[in-house]
Structures are given as structure tokens and as C-alpha cells.
């Protein structure tokens, strides 16, 4: 707090007319990164990973604390964030697929609007589906031999991220019966290990942490990944699992499964919201450009750290982190679906599982 500092602030105050010169400084401030989930979920892990790194890169090295605001399937926190006004730029909000899906499916609890907010960083994950060894032998890169088998799958609910695998298996003509009501994908894996469930999927980091071990021991056979998105929005092989075919490839090879048409478009739309653009960090509506630019630069510096790939791999997976323009594009892709896709999924949820969000 020297005279020079005050002089500098005075000068910058005078220069406010030219915003490009106004430096954003967070010295001594505390930034609250609000997560609409409990302390125990994947989003908490994600925010806790980025928070200390972000703190180092923001000007003035503010303290970044992660705050939890769980409730109503994350819509409570998102509704709260919708009400927030810009104030010094010290509030950051993190959403995940579980916040995006109710928004896309017109859940009656949703009172938030993604396009009002300013995305500053987006990151994704992938997912791998796998089979029990007996049925895994019948898998030949197509689902043709799996169509007569009844599978059982531990699921968190048809309107959650599980929508993506359930719809994929249905498109392949497979007969998968979900057992609803489990609390997390870990419980689903345990059910698979006990032989109660016969098919399962995990997000990339959980797959590497536990399921890959089952594959090694011959207790599971990988079937397909959901894939990853390239620059142009095409589905390509997941960089973390280059040897496992994507659902798109399996679908193309399987009789009766098509990679075009309304089912495919709907699947792809929800896949994007659930996986490659799963987690997004937002600043509230009305945040001025200079603050957005400061955050963008900070996240950019985080992802360009020399050791970023190494530390991120174990903790959040080896996937691209989008900032700035890229984050805006990703958010656009992850939070919009066509009316047809929405109608298709709503209808399918109602017919297959009797679920309606009314």
C-alpha cells in the first residue's frame, strides 16, 4: 500500500474513460466460486482443482474459495446465480451436465437462462461403456449379437447424464433395463462388480481409476466411448482412449442404427451437453468486458502451465480446456438443442420410462 500504489490507482481512475487501460486488480479480495452441488460430487473436485491455480494467475492473487449451494438437482444454485448482479467480479459460478440437462429439458424448476451469463472457461470429459465378460465375447465391434440379451444397468435416473448411455444402447437395438435410484456412478460400478448389473459406463477419470482394472483382470470388456468433439463439432475418437471405438463407429457398423436423423441428432445434442462441454465457469450477467478479459487471461494462463497436462490428467482427465471465444462457442453448443431433438427426447423419456418433467 504505497503512495505509488495510490497514485497508480488514482491515475487509472482518471483513465476510466478509456476502459482498456483500467486494470482489474483483486488484491486482498476473496473470490467465491459457487458450485450448485454438495461438497462430495465431481463438480466439487473440478472446482477444487482449478481454484488454487486460478488464484495464482489472477492479478493481485486473490483467495479463491469454493462454496457449495446444493439443492433441487442443482437448479437451486443456478436460480440463485441468475439473480446475481455484477459486483467487483468476485462471484464465479460453475455448472455441470446436471445443470444443463434440466435447462434443456424444460424442467419446471428452471428459472435461469444460460445466454444471460458470461462463460469464461469450459471443460469436458468422456465416457466409456463396458460389458460383462460373457456377453463381451459376443461383441465384435457391432451390437448385432447383443440384441437378444437382456442387460441390467444401475442408473441414477433417466433425466440425468444416464440419458446419453441409455439412449445410445436403445439406438443400437440393445435391451437394457435400468435399475434406478443409485447415488453415483461408483455405486453402479459396484453393482456391476457384484454381478447384479451386467453393463455399465463410467466417466473417463473413474474408468481409469477403477474399471480399467476390471478390464485388465478380464472381469469387464470395453465396448465403446462416447467420443470427443473436434474443432468443427465432429465426433472423433476419445484422445484418452484411442483404441476403443466410439459409439458413432459402433452405430454405423450395427444393423438398424443410423448416424443421422432425429434420434441421432437428439443423442448428439445431449451428449455434447453432458460430456465434452460438461462443466462451465460463468460470470454473472452484466459483467464488464475488462473483468471477463481478466478471467479469460487467467484461465488461459492456467491451461498453459507447463505441468498442466500432467496435474490435470489424474484429477480431471486429459481433455481440452476452453477459454474466451472457445468457451463461448462450447457453451453455445452445450446449452442449445433443436426443438426436434428436445421433443424426441421428451417423448422417448415418457414412453420408455414414464418420466415427465411437468
Amino acid at each position: 500500500m504505497t503512495i505509488k500504489y495510490f497514485a497508480a490507482s488514482a491515475v487509472s481512475a482518471v483513465c476510466l474513460a478509456a476502459p482498456a487501460l483500467a486494470e482489474v486488480d483483486f488484491s486482498g479480495k476473496t473470490i467465491e466460486w459457487v458450485i450448485p452441488f454438495s461438497e462430495t460430487g465431481g463438480s466439487a473436485k473440478w472446482a477444487n482443482f482449478f481454484a488454487p491455480l486460478l488464484s495464482e494467475e489472477l492479478p493481485g492473487k486473490p483467495t479463491v474459495v469454493v462454496k457449495f449451494m446444493p439443492g433441487a438437482g442443482s437448479t437451486k444454485g443456478a436460480n440463485w446465480f441468475q439473480e446475481q448482479k455484477h459486483d467487483e467480479g468476485t462471484v464465479l459460478f460453475g455448472t455441470s451436465g446436471s445443470t444443463q440437462f434440466p435447462y434443456l429439458l424444460d424442467d419446471p424448476r428452471v428459472r435461469y437462462e444460460y445466454s444471460d451469463w458470461h462463460p469464461v472457461m469450459a471443460s469436458g470429459t468422456g465416457g466409456v461403456a463396458y460389458l460383462n465378460p460373457t456377453d463381451g465375447e459376443k461383441f465384435d465391434g457391432t451390437a448385432n449379437n447383443l440384441k437378444d440379451i437382456n442387460f441390467i444397468y444401475g442408473s441414477q435416473g433417466a433425466t440425468r447424464l444416464d440419458l446419453v448411455p441409455l439412449l445410445a444402447w436403445e439406438m443400437l437395438g440393445m435391451n437394457v433395463e435400468p435399475v434406478f435410484g443409485i447415488k453415483g456412478r461408483g455405486d453402479g460400478r459396484l453393482m456391476f462388480e457384484r454381478g447384479e448389473a451386467t453393463i455399465d459406463y463410467q466417466t473417463s477419470s473413474s474408468y481409469l481409476g477403477a474399471s480399467a482394472d476390471l478390464v485388465e483382470k478380464g472381469q469387464a470388456v470395453p465396448m465403446m466411448t462416447w467420443g470427443a468433439l473436434d474443432e468443427d463439432g465432429n465426433i472423433v475418437r476419445d484422445p484418452t482412449f484411442p483404441d476403443i471405438p466410439t459409439f458413432k463407429e459402433v452405430c454405423e457398423a450395427t444393423d438398424g442404427c443410423e448416424t443421422s436423423g432425429e434420434a441421432w441428432d437428439a443423442w448428439k445434442a445431449f451428449f455434447i451437453a453432458g460430456f465434452p462441454v460438461q462443466k462451465i465457469a460463468f460470470l454473472p450477467a452484466g459483467t464488464p468486458e475488462d473483468v471477463i478479459a481478466t478471467y479469460t487471461a487467467a484461465f488461459d494462463a492456467v491451461r498453459n502451465r507447463d505441468d498442466f497436462a500432467k496435474i490435470a490428467e489424474k484429477r480431471v482427465g486429459k481433455y481440452p480446456v476452453f477459454v474466451g471465444e472457445g468457451a463461448a462457442k462450447a457453451t453455445q453448443r452445450g446449452t442449445t438443442v433443436s426443438a426436434e431433438a428436445k421433443a424426441f427426447v421428451t417423448n422417448w423419456l415418457q414412453e420408455a420410462y414414464g418420466v415427465s418433467l411437468k
Binding site: 454438495s38 461438497e39 462430495t40 460430487g41 466439487a44 473436485k45 477444487n48 482443482f49 481454484a51 488454487p52 474459495v65 469454493v66 462454496k67 457449495f68 449451494m69 446444493p70 439443492g71 433441487a72 438437482g73 437448479t75 437451486k76 419446471p108 424448476r109 437382456n150 441390467i152 444401475g154 435416473g157 433425466t159 433395463e177 435399475v179 434406478f180 435410484g181 443409485i182 447415488k183 453415483g184 461408483g186 455405486d187 460400478r189 459396484l190 453393482m191 462388480e193 457384484r194 447384479e196 473413474s206 481409476g209 477403477a210 482394472d213 476390471l214 500432467k310 496435474i311 490428467e313 489424474k314 484429477r315 420410462y353 414414464g354 418420466v355
Partner: protein, 676 residues
């Protein structure tokens, strides 16, 4: 012998890792922080661990583990303070401790109860660690043999403890448990997402009620209100009675009970998906069933403290198995623990199946750090217990406002909604009347705790069983009636039969006199009204969501049947029948100088004021007026105590980075912390 060959050197390495001054220092630091967090009811390990998270990034793994484990391990030890001294269940792990611990404190034996509890905790922790050291290398297949039918049976075994705790009129206990189960189903169903007794217009209800709130409401609120009405100290005797030596001797006399309960704790803790909430009830039930003279349970029987306290620390060790071996957290704090481990060092420790193969030494370090933390924590607690027990000799009118403050804050922390405090009040009201009319509060709470597991496991097990039966009859039978299920079934049946025979002698509420018919009858009709409403509500769920309606319908049906029989009995029997038990007829409550409603009005005042001006301002007004008007304290004393209370809240919330409930005022004007 292969196992031994890898396990022993790893154990040696683990001790080499632990026994470094730095590591031990961090452990003690963690323990001290854990104690500070744990003595406040309702906060527990989650709040503490979240506080540590930012420091974990890149920290040396062993140091980070020592810090975190120190913090987690002592919570089930230090929450005993609140359970025994104030009758406030500090966390879900110490609910059963309240039943006998608090009556002991009322008899002036607080120090004895505390030291018996701490000795049991210490021992339970050590037994847990010793058991795990051998068990962890062979645990995987055993844990995997616990499928859904097995977990369902354990939940039902837990539920069968209602038989022991039903009270003098078994039907009332059954109905109370049914009511607890029904209240546990409020909200969005896990399976199909149907709403039960909730609407999307009140988002708060869609999530269901939190255990913290129900525990505080059912046990703490009624006791606080009752003691406040009587305007005396918690302990009837002015002096504290025997000190900590007697408690330790109590433990020695009951060491085998402690061993058995520790093993129960470890084994139930090992099973993923059940969590710790049933353990202490099963241990309590076991303590009752193995005691010859049961007449003292509920009135201050030391075995009722030793049992649950031995099991709840052992459970923490058991809970490490699913956490470390499967990467599936056994509790909320374990989930954060897993997340934090990934942040340690360069992320080389990976929780999951590879833990045993790649990091057996770390695994053993975690097990024994936990045991060591238990030792350190217990010693600190015992050292402090004599002093803290003196709280029970203070005139309760000086404690009560601070307890209202603490439980409101704790309730708010569970979901950070104003509705949390309202829910606490409503559940508290239910608790007050359950207590007054001698309906078993433990039965209600067991019902609530097990509502979700029973519903979830029965639905899922049913679905998978029918899937197996479609394949072949044998496969289905094999799935449902595994050897483990059969053993658990026998244990449950025996425990119900024995329990029903014994229940009459266990009076958790003491000997309650009967009086007029009207008040008990009105309460019965009110409960019946809720049960009928819940039944109608459940029956409106469309049939394709059968999973969401079947449990409320069945449970509601049973509860309604019990209530109808009770109604008939009430009509037929004379006023002196125990069925009409009413604390307002005679006894402490009836003779209390203050009425129920005028006492409750203070709590209502705090809640209403919070709604308008936010928690801290409301608290300021509440403390000052309460101390001045109700406690008749002088201005200096009033101001000092108020300042202390508010300072305590601010320090706690500030350190843990927690918010206070805001009111309408805060919505209109921007105020600085802590007023916002």
C-alpha cells in the same frame, strides 16, 4: 502366505511414514481442529474438511493425510460432548448416545458418562484399526458378497431395533417408526422422480428433509424447551458426582460389550452404501439385549453409552474399506476425503482397486493414522471433559439462548435455506409432542434414517430378483436367499422376538403418568391425519412409477392399521391406561413454572426476526431480550453474554467460510459481513 509377505513389510513402511515428528505434528493439528469443529453440533467432518481442501493442493501426501485424518477421526469422539451434556445429537453417529448419556448428565454424572464414552471411543477406534490391518487385504471379495438383498436385510435389522425401543405400548412405537419412515419419503423419489408430499413450487421439499434437522428437532428441541420451562440446571445435583475415573471403571467392567460393539461397528462400516447411521442403533439394541437388568435403559444406563460409542469410532475405520478399495465414499466426509487425496502431492495416490497393489503402505498409514488420531483425540477430550461437564451445573436459562442459536445455525448449514430453520421448528414441534405423549422418539428417528435405504434397496433388489427369476427359478432363489441373507434374517427375527418381550421395561421417556383422554386422542388423530394424507398423496402417483409409491403405501398402510387399533383401544380403555401417557399431567413438565407455548415463543421470535432482519441482527435482539426478560440478568451480564454469543458465531462462520441466514432486510439493503 503371499499376503503376509507383502502385508508385513508394508505395515513396517507405514509405521516408518507415520512416526516422523512432522507427520505427528500435523496429525495433532488436525485433531485439534477437528475437536473445535466437532464440539458444535451439526457441523461435523464435512465442514472441517472443506476448510482444509485449499491447502491440500500439491501438499506432501503423508502430511496432508495426517492433517485430514486427524480432523475426520475425532468428530465421532468430540460430538459426544453435545450428545451427553445437552441432549443434542452432535452428528448421526451419536444419536443413540443421547438416550442414556443425557439422562446420566441430568443425574449429575456427566463426567462419568463422558469418560465412559471416550474410553469406549478410543477402544473402538483401536479395535477397528487392528481388525482392518488384517481384513483389508482380503476385504474385496467379502465386500462384494454384500449385494442388494444383503443390504436390505441389514437395513431391516436396523429397523427391527424399533422393537426394542418401542416403549411401553408397542403399537405406539410401531406407529412412530411408520411416521418416521413416511416423513423420510418426502420429496423427489430416487427411482422415478415422483414427488411425495412435495411440489415443485416449494423446491425445498423436493430434496426431502435432512438428517441433521430431524435429529436436532426430535431430540434437542424438546429437551431444551423442557429444561427451559423448569428453569433449573441440567444436572439435578449441584455437584458433578464421580469424575472420570468411574467412567473408565465402567468401561473395564463392560469391556466385552465394547469389543462386540466395536466389531459390529467395523463390519457394518465396511459395507458400502449403508453409511454410519444404522450402526449406533444396532449397537444400542445389542447393548440392551445383552443386559440382564434392563430397567435403567433410557434413564442413564452406562452400557447404553458404551455400546454406541464403541461402535461409532470403529465404524470410521470400517468405512475406509469401501472408500479406499472401491473409491466409493461411505459418508459425506469420506467423499471429500477421496477428492482431497487426488489433490495431494502430484496426484500419485489413486483411490480404488489399485490402492492395495500400488499403495499398500499408504493404505496402512491411513488405517493407523486414524487409530493414532483416536488416541490423541480421546486424551484431549478426557482432559477437557471435567471442565466442560461443569456446563451442566449452570442454570439452564443461561444456556438455552445459546443452544437455540447453535441449533438454528447448524440447521441452516445443512442446506443454507431459511426453510431449514422452519423445518427444524416443525420437526421440533413433532418431537415435543412425541415426548409429551410417550411415543418413542428413537423409533421415529430410526424410521426416518432407514426410510431411504429400505425403499431404495427393496426396489432395486426386487427389480434384479425379478430379472433373475425370469432367467430361472433357481437363480432367483439363490440371489434372494444367500447364506448371508438367511443369517441376517434369523438375527432379525430373534431380535424382534426378544425385543418385544423386553420393550415394556425400557422406558426411554421415564415413567410417564396417564391423565385425561382428550389431549392424547387429539394427537393420535393429528398423526392419523398426516398418514392418511400421505397415503392419498402416494396413491395418486401413476402406476408406471410403482417404485415411487409402493413403499409409502405399504408403510402408510401398516402405520394406519396400528393407529386405528390404538384409536379403538383409546375409546375402550380407562383414563389410567398407559396408552394415555401425558407428561403435562404430572411430573417435571407439569410442575414447571413456565408454560410450553410461552417458552416456545422465544424460539419462534428468533425465527421470525431472522426472516425479517437476518440471523445476526435477530440474534442480537433475541439474546438481549431473552437474557434481560426471561433470565432477568443485569445489563452488564446481558451485554457481555450477548457479545460472546455473537462473537462465537462470527468466529465460527468466518473460519469455516459459512454464511448466515439472510432476511428480507438483506434483500433490500447491502450490508457488510456478518450482517449480510
Amino acid at each position: 502366505m503371499d499376503l503376509l509377505a507383502t502385508a508385513l513389510p508394508a505395515l513396517g513402511q507405514a509405521w516408518a511414514l507415520i512416526l516422523q515428528p512432522m507427520v505427528l505434528g500435523y496429525l495433532v493439528l488436525g485433531v485439534v481442529m477437528g475437536l473445535a469443529v466437532g464440539v458444535f453440533p451439526g457441523l461435523g467432518g464435512i465442514a472441517g474438511l472443506s476448510l482444509l481442501l485449499p491447502f491440500m493442493f500439491g501438499m506432501d501426501p503423508v502430511l496432508g493425510l495426517a492433517l485430514m485424518i486427524g480432523m475426520v477421526a475425532v468428530v465421532p469422539t468430540s460430538d459426544t460432548f453435545a450428545s451427553v451434556l445437552m441432549g443434542i445429537p452432535g452428528s448421526s453417529a451419536s444419536q443413540a448416545t443421547v438416550l442414556d448419556g443425557f439422562p446420566m448428565a441430568k443425574k449429575g454424572q456427566a463426567a462419568r458418562a463422558l469418560s465412559a464414552a471416550f474410553t469406549s471411543s478410543l477402544f473402538g477406534g483401536l479395535v477397528g484399526a487392528a481388525f482392518l490391518t488384517m481384513f483389508i487385504v482380503v476385504a474385496r471379495p467379502i465386500v462384494l458378497s454384500f449385494g442388494l438383498p444383503e443390504m436390505l436385510m441389514i437395513s431391516i435389522l436396523g429397523l427391527s431395533m424399533v422393537a426394542v425401543l418401542a416403549g411401553r405400548v408397542a403399537l405406539k412405537g410401531l406407529a412412530a417408526a411408520g411416521l418416521g419412515l413416511l416423513i423420510g419419503t418426502i420429496g423427489e423419489a430416487d427411482a422415478g422422480g415422483s414427488l411425495r408430499m412435495a411440489t415443485y413450487d416449494i423446491p425445498y421439499l423436493t430434496d426431502g428433509l435432512k438428517l441433521v434437522i430431524v435429529g436436532l428437532g426430535i431430540f434437542a428441541v424438546p429437551e431444551i424447551v423442557s429444561l427451559l420451562r423448569q428453569d433449573r440446571a441440567i444436572s439435578k445435583e449441584a455437584k458433578l458426582g464421580a469424575g472420570w475415573g468411574e467412567g473408565v471403571r465402567d468401561w473395564v467392567a463392560n469391556k466385552w460389550l465394547s469389543v462386540r460393539c466395536s466389531l459390529i461397528g467395523v463390519v457394518v462400516g465396511v459395507i458400502p452404501g449403508l453409511g454410519g447411521s444404522v450402526v449406533d442403533w444396532i449397537a444400542y439394541g445389542h447393548a440392551v439385549q445383552t443386559t440382564k437388568d434392563k430397567s435403567n435403559f433410557g434413564k442413564g444406563e452406562v452400557r447404553g453409552v458404551i455400546g454406541p460409542e464403541s461402535s461409532n469410532n470403529a465404524k470410521e475405520g470400517g468405512g475406509l474399506v469401501p472408500t479406499l478399495l472401491f473409491g466409493i465414499p461411505g459418508s459425506g466426509s469420506m467423499a471429500i476425503f477421496i477428492g482431497a487425496i487426488a489433490l495431494l502431492g502430484s496426484g500419485e495416490i489413486e483411490v480404488g482397486p489399485s490402492m492395495l497393489r500400488d499403495n499398500l503402505d499408504i493404505t496402512y498409514s491411513i488405517v493407523w493414522l486414524l487409530a493414532l488420531a483416536n488416541v490423541v483425540g480421546t486424551l484431549l477430550c478426557i482432559a477437557a471433559s471435567g471442565g466442560i461437564a461443569k456446563l451442566t451445573t449452570i442454570r439452564f436459562t443461561y444456556l438455552a439462548p445459546f443452544l437455540f442459536m447453535l441449533i438454528s445455525f447448524a440447521a441452516f448449514q445443512s442446506g443454507q435455506n431459511f426453510e431449514d430453520i422452519l423445518a427444524l421448528f416443525v420437526i421440533g414441534l413433532i418431537g415435543i409432542f412425541l415426548r409429551r405423549f410417550d411415543w418413542s422418539r428413537p423409533a421415529f428417528l430410526i424410521g426416518f434414517v432407514l426410510s431411504n435405504p429400505v425403499e431404495k434397496f427393496s426396489n432395486q433388489a426386487f427389480q434384479i430378483a425379478s430379472f433373475r427369476f425370469r432367467k430361472s427359478f433357481e437363480e432367483g432363489m439363490e440371489y434372494i436367499f444367500s447364506p448371508i441373507v438367511i443369517v441376517l434374517l434369523i438375527v432379525t427375527v430373534v431380535s424382534v422376538v426378544l425385543g418385544l418381550r423386553q420393550a415394556k421395561s425400557i422406558m426411554a421417556e421415564g415413567d410417564v403418568q396417564s391423565g385425561s383422554k382428550r389431549a392424547p386422542l387429539v394427537f393420535l388423530l393429528l398423526i392419523m391425519g398426516y398418514v392418511v394424507t400421505a397415503l392419498v398423496n402416494a396413491s395418486l402417483i401413476p402406476d408406471y412409477n410403482m417404485t415411487d409409491k409402493i413403499v409409502p403405501l405399504v408403510v402408510g398402510g401398516i402405520a394406519l392399521t396400528a393407529l386405528l387399533i390404538l384409536l379403538v383401544q383409546m375409546i375402550l380403555r380407562p383414563e389410567s391406561d398407559p396408552i394415555f401417557a401425558d407428561k403435562e399431567v404430572s411430573g417435571e413438565d407439569a410442575d414447571a413454572p413456565y408454560g410450553l407455548w410461552s417458552t416456545l415463543a422465544w424460539f419462534v421470535g428468533l425465527i421470525v426476526a431472522t426472516y425479517f432482519v437476518g440471523f445476526i441482527l435477530a440474534l442480537l435482539g433475541f439474546l438481549v431480550s431473552f437474557l434481560r426478560v426471561r433470565a432477568q440478568a443485569h445489563w452488564p451480564k446481558t451485554l457481555i453474554l450477548t457479545a460472546c454469543g455473537i462473537a462465537l458465531m462470527c468466529v465460527m462462520a468466518g473460519a469455516l467460510n459459512r454464511d448466515f441466514p439472510p432476511g428480507l432486510l438483506q434483500g433490500a439493503v447491502d450490508l457488510p459481513w456478518p450482517l449480510n
